[in-house]
């Protein structure tokens, strides 16, 4: 787990002079070591900051360079390869066969195994890797830089290019330090932030900076960037496996999760776990606790100060976490958070690189920070379970989708109009209104509508016409529409939605904040539920094994019955968040008004002050539920102050307003 940065000089331009500075910009990602490599002919360079997890010796130093008569090959690698031992064995066999000599390993790191896999098989080796990663391999022999990002996008990778240089980095901060790529804002990305609270797909806030999407690889030469190709897909659904029974599927799932957890506990440093008391994290802890070489597994959770049960549908996690900890015999450390965390929102936005409007990110940071203070350097997380096994409310809501198509257009149009009359302060009315307001959309778009926090018409009304300058707001849905269109006809709507979940919500939201926040604390988070074998198995499950009536993750729950208390397994679902609705209307009300004042908005020029004022008013009256979009507007303004106004972001402590 590290931070990486690098460049390729385009069209014989001189090498970037700022590689070391860019690398320093992500020092928080790798406090243990740093390194830099420049191609002898100055065509390219790579650098990295290292958080040492496997092979703590200097042999794990990066960039790792191998010299061949035709040139040098240098790798910078961020992440972990869980099958690196097996990969090393395969490399040894292949090296004897293809090169006729054994490999003289320098150390035992996974990066060295990846380097050798590349030396032996070139870019075709990418599908062999089981793990989370973002990497850059400069091949001086051919003058090509290979970039690749893992199947689910657990590790981030951004790129940017101008006439002189192509750059890539784990974080936007480092890219902006590397060269002048321009800081023009991307209106479509901003529209997406407001609508989804993150940008699905490759866009970022800056026109010049793009994400390399999960499962993609690309090669860059001094002539420029070639077309990216997909070397793996997050979810590939075939026909369901009709031979599976409930018992055999549950057995298999339990076995696969156990194997995944144990495989992902490989580390030369202490490993702990998140424990919210929900099904996903509890299941991981249930298997991890037996694999700790005799010591008690250290688990971490958070408690919310002064939030009454039932507020905003809030159900306290802590009692469940404590119950699971006691049941499984693990240590539980509780980190208490309250409204004072709002003071760190600006820091959070700067750290996230993208103005993700989700305060849950801070909870993750506090937990990682506490774990790190206790010497734990790796935490296992339950991220991904909801996305592959149907764990969100929208998955249940989706089960009514076939009935929508039975309704005539005129009825659906009427339902949409009715949605405006529902008062949004009541959680049920809020959800119903959300369901109805897209009643007249076509089926594919309705699927996407479940991810929207704000209707695109409302989003369009918020954006200043001058800022949009011809950008079409109907492009907001484009990446998701493309992803839906890629699926084979006949794919069940639930599987279509899980595909959208993993491609976008998981990668661009959950995993992004998990990576950035854990890295800010100098800690690695691993996600055993995204183990490839386990995920592949879930794609063969019949739909009703995932969502049965109101019960999501049904087969997962059955699988865990022998190991976890029933009241934990079947507890109501809660988020990982904070009572933001209440905070924005009470504790943070002044900050909302100041950060989104007419003067501030007019100066920024992104949003139409009148539109924003109207949205805030409607939200406070309960006519629309725009808590999170309003928070997104605040995050965008804050992000601009850090990334656009202040030059290069320095993670300085600022507060809203």
């Amino acid at each position: 787990m590290c931070g990486i940065v690098g460049f390729v000089s385009l069209r014989d331009n001189p090498a970037s002079r700022h590689l070391a500075a860019a690398n320093n910009r992500i020092a928080h990602r790798g406090p243990d070591d740093s390194g830099l490599y420049l191609d002898p002919r100055q065509r390219a360079g790579v650098a990295m900051r290292r958080l040492a997890i496997l092979d703590l010796s200097p042999a794990g130093h990066q960039p790792m360079v191998w010299s061949e008569p035709e040139g040098e090959v240098a790798i910078v690698f961020n992440g972990e390869i869980y099958n690196y031992r097996e990969l090393r064995a395969e490399c040894e066999i292949a090296a004897l066969k293809l090169r006729g000599v054994p490999i003289a390993w320098r150390g035992t790191s996974d990066t060295e195994a990846v380097l050798w896999a590349y030396l032996l098989w070139g870019k075709a080796m990418l599908p062999l890797l089981d793990g989370m990663f973002a990497m850059g391999i400069w091949d001086g022999r051919s003058g090509r830089m290979l970039l690749a990002r893992d199947r689910f996008g657990v590790k981030p990778l951004y790129w940017a290019a101008n006439r002189r240089v192509f750059g890539f980095a784990s974080e936007i901060k480092a890219l902006l330090e590397l060269d002048d790529f321009g800081r023009e804002l991307d209106p479509i990305a901003i529209g997406q932030y407001v609508s989804f609270l993150y940008t699905p797909g490759q866009r970022t806030m800056l026109r010049s900076v793009r994400k390399l999407e999960p499962g993609l690889a690309v090669e860059v030469t001094p002539g420029g960037m070639e077309a990216p190709w997909r070397f793996t897909r997050a979810l590939e659904f075939g026909p369901p496996d009709r031979a599976l029974t409930e018992e055999t599927a549950a057995d298999k799932l339990r076995h696969l999760l156990k194997t995944a957890v144990h495989r992902q506990m490989v580390a030369d440093v202490p490993v702990g776990a998140f424990l919210s008391g929900g099904l996903d994290s509890s299941s991981i802890v249930a298997f991890a606790r037996t694999h700790t070489n005799g010591s008690r597994l250290r688990c971490f959770t958070f408690g919310r100060k002064g939030v009454p049960e039932g507020q905003e549908g809030y159900v306290a996690d802590l009692p469940y976490a404590e119950r699971v900890a006691q049941h499984l015999g693990v240590d539980l450390h509780t980190i208490w958070v309250g409204p004072e965390m709002a003071e760190r929102f600006a820091w959070m936005v700067a750290q996230l690189d993208e103005p993700q409007a989700d305060p849950a990110s801070l909870n993750a940071f506090y937990i990682c920070q506490a774990a790190r203070e206790q010497g734990v350097k790796v935490l296992l997380s339950g991220a991904g379970g909801d996305d592959i096994l149907s764990g969100y409310r929208r998955h249940y809501a989706l089960m009514s989708e076939p009935y929508w198509s039975w309704l005539p257009d005129v009825v659906r149009g009427g339902l949409r109009m009715m949605s405006g009359a529902l008062h949004r302060k009541n959680p049920f009315a809020r959800r119903l209104a959300k369901a109805l307001q897209y009643a007249d959309w076509p089926q594919g778009d309705r699927l996407i509508s479940y991810f929207l926090w704000l209707h695109p018409d409302l989003t369009a009304g918020l954006l200043a016409p001058d800022f949009m300058a011809g950008a079409r707001t109907d492009n907001l849905l484009a990446p998701m529409r493309a992803a839906v269109a890629e699926l084979p006809p006949g794919t069940h709507p639930l599987n279509r939605m899980l595909n959208l979940d993993t491609r976008f919500f998981l990668a661009d939201h959950n995993l992004n904040y998990t990576d950035k926040m854990s890295m800010a604390a100098g800690l690695e988070v691993r996600v055993p539920l995204l183990d490839p074998e386990l995920v592949n198995f879930t794609t063969t499950l019949p739909v009703d094994f995932k969502q049965r009536g109101r019960t999501g993750k049904w087969i997962f729950k059955k699988a865990m019955e022998p190991l976890l208390p029933a009241d934990v397994i079947y507890r109501p679902k809660t988020g990982f968040g904070v009572p933001l609705r209440r905070w924005l209307q009470h504790e943070l009300r002044t900050q909302v008004d100041d950060t989104l004042s007419d003067a501030v908005l007019r100066r920024r020029g992104i949003f139409d002050p009148e539109g924003v004022r109207r949205l805030i008013k409607l939200d406070r009256e309960g006519a629309v539920d725009a808590t999170y979009p309003i928070f997104a507007l605040m995050c965008i303004e804050t992000w601009c102050r850090t990334y656009v106004d202040a030059g290069i972001p320095g993670g300085r402590e600022t507060v809203f307003a």
Binding site: N83, A94, D130, T245, E247, H255, E533
Partner: protein, 390 residues
């Protein structure tokens, strides 16, 4: 020679079922040896040059009901060929070939395992229908033939019981020898399916149906793991062909606590098969009944020591000492497999002998050579004479 193969269907690149593939590969081998070969098949498509001197022609019709166009062309044009080789047991194309034989054509029939005794035994409607068809219709076809080909001794014995006048010859299956798998493909197979390098890994490839007897191998696995706790069983094949059977296997695996010891790797294409052969230590085929399973020959050609059951009808190879035959029983299978895992030298010898045997007798070139001698009625190729059945 000018040879005409008749087969119910032939879709190069998308063969459904083994017979189509075998006919095409045999025809290609004959073409390469210098014969002029045509394949006539029911279907729709242009005349296709499959290889040197090897043409594929389609005639409209339906597999089950035959093709009147093909029949007419056959009756009108059989004289262009030195012989007709028909591969259509239980189908009307065999009748058309017999009509041509009655007009003077030299016709040979290839049963391709369809008359395997196991398939004709019993009193189920399917078995009874097949027996009636064989005695009433297929025997009349065979009566006018120059020769009938059975894949194995067992099938030849069954053909003899039909009572046809034509001589019977044992002509086994052939395979196309494949180069060793690419190291990347092998690494990919092992890493994706989590098959450890050098471990005690048993491989099965084939249709996953009750006839294949996989439940015996799964029953054997705990006994094998008593001696080799890391032993794994890799199953290559489509789980959809016999869902009830696969479900029973899953339940058996769960009940025996073997989930971590079984790797379902799905249907394997040619590249996948080669990678699987290179990744596993031993091939096992515990079938109740086989014509002559190509997977067994392919595994042997890849140098894998191979364990079969009597239902695989590989008695000639067993007599030659190039594979191990075990009773179809968990204990015996476990013994045979454990012995090979325990004695790596013996296993390597068996694998090498199997490879040599297949190269000698079961390449399509070798099969085409044997057929050539039969077609030419060379005296050293004696027809099959069964041991009297008591």
């Amino acid at each position: 020679m000018k040879i005409l193969h008749l087969v119910y269907e032939c879709l190069p690149g998308a063969y459904r079922g083994g017979v189509q593939k075998m006919v095409a590969e045999l025809a290609l081998a004959q073409g390469c040896r210098g014969d002029e070969v045509e394949i006539w098949a029911i279907g729709d498509g242009p005349v296709t040059q499959l290889g040197p001197r090897t043409l594929l022609r389609y005639f409209p019709g339906r597999i089950r009901w035959g093709s009147s166009a093909l029949r007419q062309a056959l009756l009108a044009g059989h004289a262009r060929f030195d012989l007709i080789h028909s591969h259509n047991t239980f189908l009307p194309l065999n009748v058309a070939a017999a009509q041509a034989a009655r007009r003077g054509a030299a016709v040979y029939y290839h049963a391709h395992g369809a008359l395997d005794p196991q398939l004709l035994r019993g009193w189920g409607p399917k078995e009874v229908k097949k027996r009636l068809y064989v005695s009433g219709m297929e025997r009349r076809n065979y009566d006018v033939a120059q020769g009938i080909f059975g894949l194995t001794e067992a099938e030849c014995a069954q053909l003899q019981l039909v009572g046809a006048k034509a001589p019977i010859f044992e002509v086994g299956n052939g395979i196309v020898l494949q180069p060793p798998a690419e190291s990347l493909a092998v690494a990919n197979f092992r890493l994706v399916h989590r098959v450890p390098y050098g471990g005690q890994v048993i491989l099965f490839i084939g249709r996953i149906t009750h006839k294949k007897g996989l439940h015996h191998l799964i029953d054997a696995l705990p006994r094998i793991r008593e001696r080799f706790p890391e032993a794994l069983f890799v199953i290559g094949g489509d789980r959809e062909q016999d869902v009830e059977y696969v479900r029973a296997l899953d339940q058996q695996i769960s009940a025996l606590g073997l989930i971590d010891a079984i790797r379902w790797v799905g249907f394997l294409d040619e590249v996948g098969k080669r990678a699987a052969f290179a990744s596993c230590r031993l091939f096992a085929h515990p079938s109740y009944s086989e014509g002559m399973a190509l997977a067994i020959l392919e595994a042997m050609a890849a140098g894998l020591p191979t364990v079969v059951t009597p239902g695989c009808y590989m008695s000639a190879a067993v007599r030659a000492g190039v594979l191990t035959e075990s009773a179809q029983d968990a204990g015996r299978l476990a013994e045979a497999i454990t012995a090979l895992f325990a004695n790596q030298e013996a296993a390597a010898r068996l694998g090498a002998a199997g490879r040599e045997y297949v190269q000698k007798y079961h390449t399509w070139d070798a099969v085409a050579g044997r057929l050539d001698r039969i077609y030419r009625k060379e005296p050293e190729v004696a027809p099959f004479i069964a041991t009297p059945v008591s």
